[in-house]
């Protein structure tokens, strides 16, 4: 299974350096998913990854840099968008991907942990913003295609439509606590598509 985030099961290309990175990032993700951010410790990560402690310290140095690298890897490993031919179809595919990611126990816990970490560390926040920026840009062309088809107004902020699909699902994950199910995903996609068609996401309004 590959979700919005990094896939923990992929065999990755590359030599020893790449394998070390993969093992360490896997261990970091596991530790974050299990315990949240607070007790993260480079020595523990090295032990989980079965990699020398000095390698981890030399290469990443701090927990912040390690988490930033994990977020970069999650963005690199994340799934490309699917194309269905309609705005609602595309946004629904996006919403379902986000939904499966956040509803997955490991991935959901991992996202919670990095988001919590970002609330108290500026570098982690930057890395998190970059992650969402990459994901939003990956999906934004489906809104541009809807503009080209005449389905939504010309001047629509394509990125904002993509963010609008994710927002209700993250709201459930982080604040209100309702379950993140497929109905919630489909509703988020439908609401965003409907509002986009009606011109609610015009630029500079």
């Amino acid at each position: 299974m590959r979700f919005e985030g990094a896939d923990s099961g992929t065999v990755r290309p590359g030599g020893r350096t790449a394998r070390v990175r993969a093992a360490v990032l896997q261990a970091t993700g596991d530790a974050l998913a299990e315990h949240g951010f607070a007790p993260l410790d480079l020595a523990d990560i090295a032990r989980r990854a079965e990699v020398g402690k000095t390698t981890v310290y030399r290469r990443w140095g701090t927990v912040t840099r390690l988490v930033a690298d994990l977020l970069l890897d999650m963005a690199e490993q994340s799934l490309p968008r699917t194309e269905t031919g309609s705005l609602f179809g595309d946004l629904k595919a996006n919403a379902r991907l986000v939904q499966r990611t956040l509803a997955d126990p490991r991935q959901g816990a991992l996202f919670k942990a990095v988001i919590a970490a970002a609330t108290c560390d500026a570098k982690t926040a930057e890395a998190l913003h970059r992650f969402y920026d990459i994901r939003v840009k990956e999906w934004a062309p489906c809104v541009q295609q809807a503009i080209d088809r005449g389905e939504v107004p010309e001047d629509t902020d394509v990125h904002e439509v993509i963010r609008a699909v994710s927002a209700p699902l993250y709201y459930r994950l982080l604040t209100s606590g309702e379950s993140i199910d497929e109905a919630a995903a489909d509703r988020a996609a439908e609401a965003a598509a409907t509002a986009a068609r009606a011109g609610a996401y015009l630029r500079g309004v």
Copy 2:
């Protein structure tokens, strides 16, 4: 100024017990806004509140219980909804209230801190869900009124419409990092109103 959350400047009614609670909750909010959740310490809170340490330990016992009480107080102190006569007007008033809260440096930092705390503590998560439940229920009648006026379909999930207004603003606060300005608030209200009118928030769909 009173925002969605607790107001730090209100003179509250009540005797010594109420004053102690107010001082301790104020100190808790300040500490959370300044440092986030991790270094919260009951002795430090007592010192900030100028209240005896044993009072704080006896009354709240744990940081978790103290934060839960803070969230309860924030819900109790939060502003009642305003009525404007139209769904978009009401949702915009709600969105602007959430926007001012999250864009305010102290309140924004406080919400980030309690949300981060909730990611790694089930009791805090429960208290957080209760807070949003109370706020959503406070505003939901404006959607019911829109149903009664025939502005939105009968079977609309009124709570989900209110959550949809907040979601894009919290998404900016917690994940993507864009600024939480009035334009974002108005757009969130317009998108939710448009989607609600079009039936995107029907129950059980």
